[in-house]
Symmetry: C2
Subunit: 617 residues, 2 copies
């Protein structure tokens, strides 16, 4: 058994873990202003309370009561419990961020309702208990371990952020049951939806119970050998991440959320078991994803059918699935890769995904959600299904995985901003806040993601402690204290730091045009507009009357003027430029002034035509 630190963040690592960077303690990382604090306030005031109401309404909290009272039917999908657990996790992190006794009371009340449904031997999955009666009878579809994984994450969050252990007790009873069932001497088991791997490793970190880590490792290794075909030979192994072992996967495939949750869990196992081969394999898989299977927004999953990754270079903007949960899961994976390798590209990825692939998944008011994040909505798109972009964001879903997933991520986002190493502190994301660890305590002020000026004030500095700042790969021309620095790497502050010192980072926020790899057939001849860390989009509402978005073409070298954005968030900036509208039915082409806004803001002023990729003439 290893010694476990009292770090209090997601992925707080054991002292044995083989990593380059380590997360900061919860109390040492705090967003105190600016863009992300506004998002966290909306999350606290709007998303989290509304989410609890929706969970009550949809009956998935009642499922726990029904099990406890012994009579009634389950409501909701087979994985309904997990939505409750993700809300519990969100509420816990939110309480840790800004204590509110009423929220804690609610969180503990739901915890009690959950605990009352647990079987004496530790088993807990209300929909299986109520609807099937038989445990582990359909591992491909029953999501029992998936629910367990989210319970473990919630329990760890409750412990780390509130100090309470009620949910941890439930989690450990369930984990002990899983060890008896599937641990040493138990039967091999592959479940359809990974996430238990991350949950078990976190539980190991919190409790020091090595058998939890070993079970997580076992679940990672047992996958990818087609074990699910023993259940049913007609199952599509690709969908369930059971076709190729994790160590041999060169590019993620199948259901995007499942694939990235599995990879993130494997990265946790790799760090804690000091398995560099596994880290290398995961790094290669990550590269396979970014090279050919990721949208410019960071979004993942090109196919509605199976909510899946497409083949390499299959990235249609109009039919992008880019599930909100996939971006969150991949940010978790990238975070673990960052800890293990210290490579800036993973922090770049987190920035891209959180701002352009997760954040568009929630309305700026906090109570409507996109499950699917399209990059192109046509004028006459059919609002055919619940998830169609033409319906705009929805208050909730029958499958409600995304909303509480956004909530828990926004509440805990300070944890992704900075890390510590033996050398000092590393700043990976730019947000106004306080960050401390490894002998350094700093305060950051910035108008990010719209403004590229990052002011850092040093409050405490141990002698020899260094400060490293990520220079995003897009930030050509960046300067640190007036000195040029290389993008796509970390810039070290190359002087001794003392309390009262100030450090000035300048990231040039110039609008730029991005071309895709020429093998991405779906956007051939088109460009995306980016500015700083933000991907932009053209929305119908911002264009002059008579403009048909799908008839707009960009021409020649583009001069993009920065103008005030729609004001949906503080300080937002729009881009204005000249474009050509193709004449139809004999009408001549004509010049028009077009406007682009940050993609995450789209569909917050009604829903209408939108494009990220613009054809050039």
């Amino acid at each position: 058994m290893s010694t476990v630190q009292d770090l209090r963040h997601p992925t707080a690592l054991s002292t044995d873990a083989d990593v380059v960077l380590r997360p900061l303690d919860v109390k040492d990382a705090e967003i105190t202003g600016g863009f992300w604090l506004d998002r966290q306030a909306v999350n606290r005031d709007s998303s989290i309370p509304d989410g609890l109401r929706r969970l009550h309404e949809s009956g998935v909290i009642d499922n726990f009561r029904t099990v406890a009272t012994g009579s009634g039917e389950a409501r909701g999908p087979i994985f309904a419990d997990s939505d409750v657990y993700k809300w519990l996790e969100a509420a816990a992190w939110e309480y840790g961020r800004q204590p509110d006794e009423r929220l804690l009371a609610e969180q503990l009340e739901i915890t009690r309702i959950v605990a009352a449904a647990q079987e004496p031997d530790g088993y807990l999955d209300t929909v299986v208990q109520l609807r099937r009666g038989v445990r582990y009878s359909d591992p491909a579809h029953d999501h029992e371990l998936y629910c367990a994984g989210h319970l473990f994450q919630a329990a760890v969050a409750q412990r780390r952020a509130t100090g309470r252990t009620e949910l941890l007790d439930v989690a450990m009873r369930l984990a002990d049951h899983l060890v008896r069932e599937f641990g040493p001497g138990g039967r091999p088991h592959v479940e359809g939806h990974p996430v238990v791997e991350m949950g078990l490793v976190e539980l190991y970190r919190e409790t020091g119970r090595d058998d939890y880590l070993q079970l997580a490792s076992r679940f990672v290794e047992e996958r990818g050998h087609g074990l699910l075909h023993e259940q049913d030979p007609s199952l599509d192994l690709t969908y369930f991440s059971d076709r190729v072992p994790v160590r041999e996967t060169r590019s993620p495939e199948g259901h995007a959320v499942r694939a990235v949750y599995l990879a993130a869990g494997a990265a946790d196992v790799a760090a804690e078991t000091r398995d560099r081969d596994l880290v290398d394999a995961l790094a290669e898989q990550y590269t396979g994803m970014t090279t050919a299977k990721q949208y410019v927004t960071g979004g993942l999953g090109a196919r509605w059918e199976g909510e899946a990754f497409g083949d390499p270079y299959e990235l249609p903007p109009d039919r992008a699935y880019a599930e909100t949960c996939a971006a969150i899961g991949a940010a978790q994976w990238a975070w673990r890769m960052l800890l293990s390798t210290g490579e800036a590209r993973y922090a770049d990825q987190i920035e891209r995904m959180l701002l352009n692939a997760m954040l568009p998944g929630v309305s700026l008011g906090g109570q409507e959600f996109f499950y699917v994040n399209t990059l192109h909505l046509r004028a006459d798109a059919s609002p055919d299904t619940e998830r169609s972009a033409a319906n705009g964001r929805r208050p909730w879903f029958d499958v409600a995985c995304c909303p509480p997933n956004v909530m828990r991520t926004v509440a805990s986002i300070a944890g992704y901003v900075a890390t510590g190493s033996d050398d000092g502190l590393q700043l990976h994301q730019y947000a106004t806040g306080r960050f401390a660890g490894r002998g350094l305590s700093i305060e950051v002020q910035t108008g990010y993601p719209f403004d590229g000026t990052v002011d850092i004030a040093v409050h405490e500095a141990r002698e020899g402690a260094t400060l490293a700042l990520r220079v995003p790969e897009w930030a050509a021309g960046a300067t640190l204290d007036g000195r040029s620095i290389e993008p796509g790497a970390y810039a070290l502050v190359d002087r001794p730091l003392h309390p009262g010192d100030r450090v000035a980072l300048q990231l040039p926020m110039r609008a730029r045009l991005t071309e895709a790899d020429d093998r991405v057939d779906a956007v051939r001849g088109a460009v995306a507009i980016e500015r700083g860390p933000l991907v932009y989009a053209l929305e119908q509402v911002d264009q002059p009357e008579g403009v048909v978005l799908d008839d707009l073409r960009l021409k020649g070298p583009l001069e993009m003027a920065e103008v005030p954005g729609p004001g949906l968030v503080e300080g937002d900036i729009a881009l204005r430029f000249e474009a050509v509208q193709i004449g139809r039915g004999g009408a001549p082409d004509r010049g028009v002034t077009a406007t682009a806004v940050p993609y995450f803001e789209w569909a917050n002023r009604g829903v209408g035509p939108m494009r990220v990729w613009m054809p050039r003439v």
Copy 2:
């Protein structure tokens, strides 16, 4: 009750029908040689016998026996009966084409097995009888009328092609039951999958029973008002063609096969009820489809999710669904529109769809099928599901709608070649064969679809009878007896015809490059290669070693040389031209000689990378 002619072809019309053109009698339309006769021979010798074996193996014929004996469980999907009916239809048309007593005996044996499962009141749907026990309890999904529609079509085929009436007796008992259940005074009813409309109208044509026509009309009119939401408000009405009434649909949407079967049935109703408003609405819907929702191959359905039409201009080649059945259903729809309007564009459509969207659905050996017809297969495409192109054509499917659908269409294809009108004979498709009607009897000789020479010998000619020949829209430079004729219309032979006369049609078979509408984002900057009525594709197997298909680009004006094809069908022609392979990893671009073959031939020499749309540089 109207008088019904003794015409013996699909869509034999009643004398009351308001149409411009009328189908020929079965005995008056015969393919006697060339391309389609080879396909019919394969269909007879390979597809139809193998199909019967598969139907036996899959248990769907046993379902009828199980109902009759009263014990056992259903096998196969809820619509399993329909596969048997389509095979019965195929066998009937094949017998009519070339009588074979063994085939007829088999057809009648299956007919007896089917008949024995019918309930005393006429109801028949074995899977519902065995699995549900309750009739019409889940109209969205249970396919009871869908199965009935295919039974009616098979019964009519048996009667017209073999003269036997055993299946017609079963069909009429079932139709009478449907009239009692859903006819005048019955309850409104919308079923999830149209086809019963076509079946009922054909049954009306065969029997003169006006109540069948009225029921078909009622089913057409009751759709599109959201009646399915009375069953379940969460149903996606778009998918089931129940969102917009047929008369108001400007572009097909939802599940492609359902949408085109419904439109074809509505066209039948329109012709027989002399409803020109309905014909006009269907013509507008057809235009909506060809303008923005059809692949260059004629394929229909841009989405795997829901097997559905996409939004306008959403036509990804790589994720084309283009179900084989959708092309067949749309050819049936186009045929009915051709009869009602006499417009050449519908015959152009039938040509495009049969050669480039249906025919690719079956291997040239006749025993393997594509359910989904992609226009682009990448080198590292995942063979993730049964229907993935990377798996190549499959011997059969769990959902086996496509194979017997191809069989019945190939067996009856002579019926689509020519029509009669008050003026004379119209030749819509070019195939070696004998065609007679309305005072003209002709014999056609042609090497179509590879050779554009069509020789027509007149055997009989009534005075004043005219011969009209479709000039395909692609056939610029066509000549008739040496005289220039306009493409995209019918050319009249402008002289009195006498027995022994010869008519010479020349359709220039020049290879050409086709661009899509510039709103089709997925193929921007790319071209397709066509020659005559055939769409071409580049297959890996035909390229020089080292060529990476997805790195090939077409450059400048293309000179395409005609060379012998792979010899998979008699007289096939390939196209050879210079292209550029993009250098990767620092390697320079290089010129390569590329080869394209007819798209319908692809994946008959193993399955590998393939492209229809080629990017230009």
